[in-house]
Point group: C2
Chain length 195, copies 2
DNA sequence: CTTGTAAGCGGAGACATCTCCGGTTATCCT
DNA sequence: AGGATAACCGGAGATGTCTCCGCTTACAAG
């Protein structure tokens, strides 16, 4: 096992046992989501199954949403890397309009793939919903929009383009209206074309 | 007191004591929301204050969201009446584009006025969120859009225009970005102009 | 190795939502 | 008026989220 090197950053570093627990909690939670569906994920049960107290779960992840977020964090990192340093059309190099399109499509795919988890996230604390990832997506999109359509209110437009990607809405469109991911994407394409 | 006339409709009619309780529960809940904020509304407490058992509250309103919805139902009815039979520009008579604009503005005003309640509603069961009122708004908007922009996917566009009116998003725009209701409306106007 | 201490741990318990069901009562019908 | 009965009522309790705090332990410094 490699030793944890002390990093210059302020956060006092996580103790080894704590890291082990975090890891085990995430594994157990992942398994339970696969088995019972995300909506039935009980933190009490996760704690029991992972052989830790409930308090430990809450200290590590803050609250239910925090744990859920940890379960989709890998996808989020991958997406951010893709649009920041990846190949076109989502990454730098393509014209803004294409990057916007590619980014929104990727986001739809993510929401569809982990729909249940995203729905839960959207229904948890409304504070958390617009911090971190949302702000990153928003900034990215607003930058591209400002480039593609100078003069428009890029920040508001970015909100307005991200809003229809709500996991709840997508779930509704798929479940009640029988729309496929492709139809949703093509609807977004229509919208982008009009802009 | 006027006697409850038996109506032809199937629903077996609500007993007088039940109606009284419903009324009292709504009054108590309204008072408590004004006093403590919507987020702190506890159904146990509502029941105690209204001198009924918890079971009664749940039988009448189904769940927390149901009660919350009852608190904004009056506004919803007023809005629906306005755009269905009211005077232009929101009602029939004005050109579609203007009706769309007036409708969205009215919706923003409602969300801003009862923001807390709408946020709670959006965070409750994701099923309820797209039933009833949402479908009415969606149908109305899709009809107008089909008229204003034949050829486009009016149903998807309607979703996409309603999504940015999420109470959570509006709350975020106001609280964290310092946007006023007017700025939000003018952002929507920009968006409509582009369409 | 010893030791000081901050980080971590567990689980009892406060508090919420929602379900269930045995007892009660309003309302309709005769 | 006098049932019959469907609707209604209350509140105990199942289950879940999250907090709090006294005890424990990893780990760095001496």
């Amino acid at each position: 096992m490699t030793r944890e090197l002390p990093i210059a950053g302020q956060p006092p570093a996580e103790r080894a046992d704590a890291a082990r627990n975090r890891q085990r909690i995430i594994e157990v939670a992942t398994r339970m989501v696969e088995a019972n569906g995300a909506a039935n994920l009980s933190l009490d049960e996760v704690a029991r199954e992972a052989n830790v107290g409930v308090g430990t779960v809450y200290r590590r992840f803050g609250d239910r949403s925090g744990l859920i977020y940890a379960l989709i964090d890998a996808g989020e990192r991958a997406l951010q890397e893709a649009f920041m340093t990846g190949p076109p059309p989502i990454g730098p190099g393509a014209p803004p309009a294409e990057r916007i399109r590619a980014f929104l499509h990727a986001l739809v795919d993510r929401k569809v793939a982990q729909q249940e988890l995203f729905v839960l996230l959207e229904m948890g604390s409304s504070k958390a919903r617009f911090s971190g990832p949302y702000m990153v997506h928003h900034t990215h999109l607003a930058t591209l929009l400002a480039e593609a359509r100078p003069g428009a209110d890029a920040r508001f437009l970015a909100d307005a383009l991200l809003a229809p990607l709500s996991a709840c809405l997508i779930g509704y469109q798929q479940a009640e209206r029988g729309m496929s991911a492709e139809q949703i994407k093509s609807g977004l394409d229509d919208l982008l074309r009009l802009l």
